[in-house]
């Protein structure tokens, strides 16, 4: 199938892409633009701001509840990202490389957890967290976010580890490493892009998670950003600009992370080690 064979198809696909990108980007662009416009300007039909202002960000950053939420979200997100990587790498390695009784069942179970809609498990989770006395703690949130992201992380990494030929590790083990050494020195560097992707993914998932946080957290000291954003809709002193600035703060890390690790995320394995 040659791409050049039919220019009309190609133009059509280009248009579909353009429309998809527009649909995806326009709300985000709107949020960004609105966050730097004076409040009375925001509701005007025009997309082009008449004047640019950072008052919304300033007033947002002067609110202690917002700053606490920002710190909480950072702590939870970073801990979740690190733990996800620390658990998913050895777990997926074991599933990919070793044969033992119950391996396939376990792998299937891990994937199976993804089939349940989040709302279905929400009630039991809330009950469990309550009975553990962990409501209104970041610890509970960390564990739950970890549980949400880990299965996908394990399956993503497993695919990558499968694609690293076993012979590379065997060569290393003949050269002088043990099994763990071969994993750390050969396989790990080769799957690093995937590890970065998994960590980023876990952070982003935790950063934007709203439902579980809403169910478990009510105290201001332990609120995360999505919850804090909701409190900005204060019926008595409500500013669209501040809400938009909050939206930008939530969206920013995702965008920055993507730009930082773009090469890692889209770059595949370095090829050429083995023939074929």
């Amino acid at each position: 199938m040659s791409r050049r064979a039919n220019p009309r198809h190609e133009a059509f696909l280009d248009w579909v892409t353009a429309i998809a990108v527009f649909l995806l980007l326009s709300p985000i662009a709107w949020v960004f633009l609105a966050s730097v416009r004076p409040d009375r300007d925001i509701m005007s039909a025009s997309l082009v701001p008449t004047s640019v202002t950072f008052v919304h960000f300033l007033s947002l950053f002067q609110r202690t509840d917002f700053m606490i939420a920002l710190a909480n979200s950072l702590v939870v997100g970073i801990v979740v990202a690190l733990l996800t990587v620390a658990i998913a790498v050895p777990a997926s390695y074991s599933i990919s490389r070793f044969r033992y009784v119950g391996r396939d069942v376990m792998a299937a179970l891990i994937l199976g957890t993804q089939m349940l809609p989040g709302v279905a498990v929400m009630v039991p989770i809330v009950v469990i967290v309550r009975s553990l006395g962990l409501t209104n703690t970041l610890t509970a949130l960390i564990f739950i976010h970890l549980a949400l992201g880990l299965p996908i992380a394990v399956w993503m990494l497993r695919g990558y580890i499968d694609s690293v030929p076993r012979e590379l590790e065997e060569a290393a083990m003949i050269d002088g490493t043990g099994q763990i050494g071969a994993m750390l020195r050969i396989t790990f560097p080769l799957i690093r892009p995937a590890v970065v992707a998994v960590g980023t993914f876990a952070f982003v998932l935790s950063w934007g998670e709203y439902l579980m946080a809403l169910a478990l957290i009510s105290k201001t000291e332990v609120k995360t950003l999505p919850l804090a954003l909701q409190t900005l809709f204060d019926p008595y002193s409500f500013s669209w600009g501040e809400v938009m600035a909050g939206g930008v703060v939530i969206a920013l890390p995702t965008i920055v992370l993507f730009l930082m690790f773009r090469n890692q995320l889209v770059g595949g394995l370095t090829s050429g080690g083995v023939k074929g």
């Binding site: 012979e167 065997e170 060569a171 002088g176 043990g178 370095t270 050429g272 080690g273 074929g276």
Partner: protein, 357 residues
């Protein structure tokens, strides 16, 4: 340098037995080649020696030490994989120096040894490249270099040349043989390629379904195959093998043809298989007494040889003539042979009969 002794080695995958009770002594400093049909256990055997597969039974000794439970890194062996298995994220120099780095050798020593190996293998200008920037032949050399740098007691090669084109293969074949002569290290080498086996080996081991059919020098295997399997496996095109029995007028093939033989050469009445290599059949002179009357089925001139397939009764006989012969399909023809070149096997056991040398 070291000998490798396999004593009753067995390997099972679950209930599937791949190798059973295998005995083999690899002598110190020899180049031993393992051949055999696909799936016969060549790679498995090599991986057992390397320590990459566990042993289900028997004892393995390298240089006299029992190594059954020893980790690969402690066995002082080097292996070249068919896929080369170069580390993609390391340069050529890093690939070659990896084992020395792990052994915590001084930097200067690593550099010197890598350079020495690179000089032997003509890799001088490529040390800073990554594997993906190399051609197939260059990758193969790097894999060899990585093995040489370690200065191991035993080299293991698993079809190292099978990914190269014909010309490069011939060249690398000579280089590996030269390397063996230069280093004098024990080498165990797996190949599919008959020519590789015949030209390089000190001794050849013919494996079949996990057991050894015959061990011997290349020409020994060619001249005196111990059984039907080896007779069929060694030599290209493979030996004509014709079942039949001795009768008053000669050797009567099951296919109907009669091979005239000096009487008393073979025991009468027994079910035998007569073997003769295609290279040992000649066009007969018109008045030759003991010629086979055959009919031409097919001929394939390759330039310096002519491959001809004949019908003899309902048997097919292949012959390779050095000289050019002009014959048409369907024509009658006469084949001569030297009875001393005949191989005789017992049909039931497949073993060679000692009657004829």
């Amino acid at each position: 340098m070291a000998s490798v002794e396999l004593d009753g080695i067995g390997k099972r995958y679950g209930s599937l037995s791949v190798i059973e009770g295998l005995n083999l002594d690899v002598r110190d400093g020899e180049l031993l080649i393992l051949v055999g049909p696909s799936g016969c256990g060549k790679s498995t055997l090599l991986r057992i020696i390397a320590g990459l597969e566990s042993i289900s039974g028997g004892e393995l000794r390298i240089g006299g030490r029992l190594v059954n439970e020893m980790a690969p890194r402690d066995r002082n062996i080097a292996m070249v994989f068919q896929s080369y298995a170069l580390y993609p994220h390391k340069t050529v120099a890093q690939n070659m120096g990896f084992s020395l780095m792990l052994a915590k050798r001084p930097k200067a020593e690593i550099e010197r040894k890598v350079k020495e190996a690179a000089d032997i293998l003509n890799l001088g200008g490529l040390l800073d490249r990554y594997p993906k920037q190399l051609s197939g032949g260059q990758r193969q050399r790097v894999a060899m270099g990585r093995a040489i740098v370690r200065d191991p007691e035993v080299f293991l090669f698993d079809e190292p040349l099978s990914n190269l084109d014909a010309k490069l293969r011939v060249q690398m074949r000579a280089e590996i043989k030269a390397l063996h002569e230069r280093l004098g290290t024990t080498m165990i080498y797996v190949t599919h390629d008959q020519v590789e086996a015949m030209t390089m080996a000190d001794r050849i081991v013919v494996l079949n379904r996990g057991h050894i059919e015959q061990v011997g020098a290349p020409l020994e295997l060619y001249d005196r195959p111990a059984n039907l399997f080896v007779a069929d496996f060694i030599g290209s095109p493979s030996m004509n093998l014709m079942p039949g029995r001795v009768e008053d007028d000669g050797f009567r093939l099951d296919g109907g043809g009669i091979v005239p033989l000096p009487s008393g050469l073979l025991p009468t009445g027994r079910e035998l298989v007569l073997g003769i290599r295609p290279q040992h059949l000649l066009p007969a002179a018109d008045d030759a007494p003991a010629a086979l009357p055959v009919r031409v089925l097919l001929q394939e001139p390759t330039g310096d040889e002519t491959f001809v397939e004949f019908a003899f009764g309902s048997d097919h006989i292949r012959a390779v003539f050095r000289e050019r012969v002009v014959i048409g399909s369907g024509e009658s023809f006469s084949l001569a042979f030297d009875p001393a070149r005949l191989h005789v096997f017992d049909k039931a056991s497949g073993e060679r009969l000692s009657a004829n040398n």
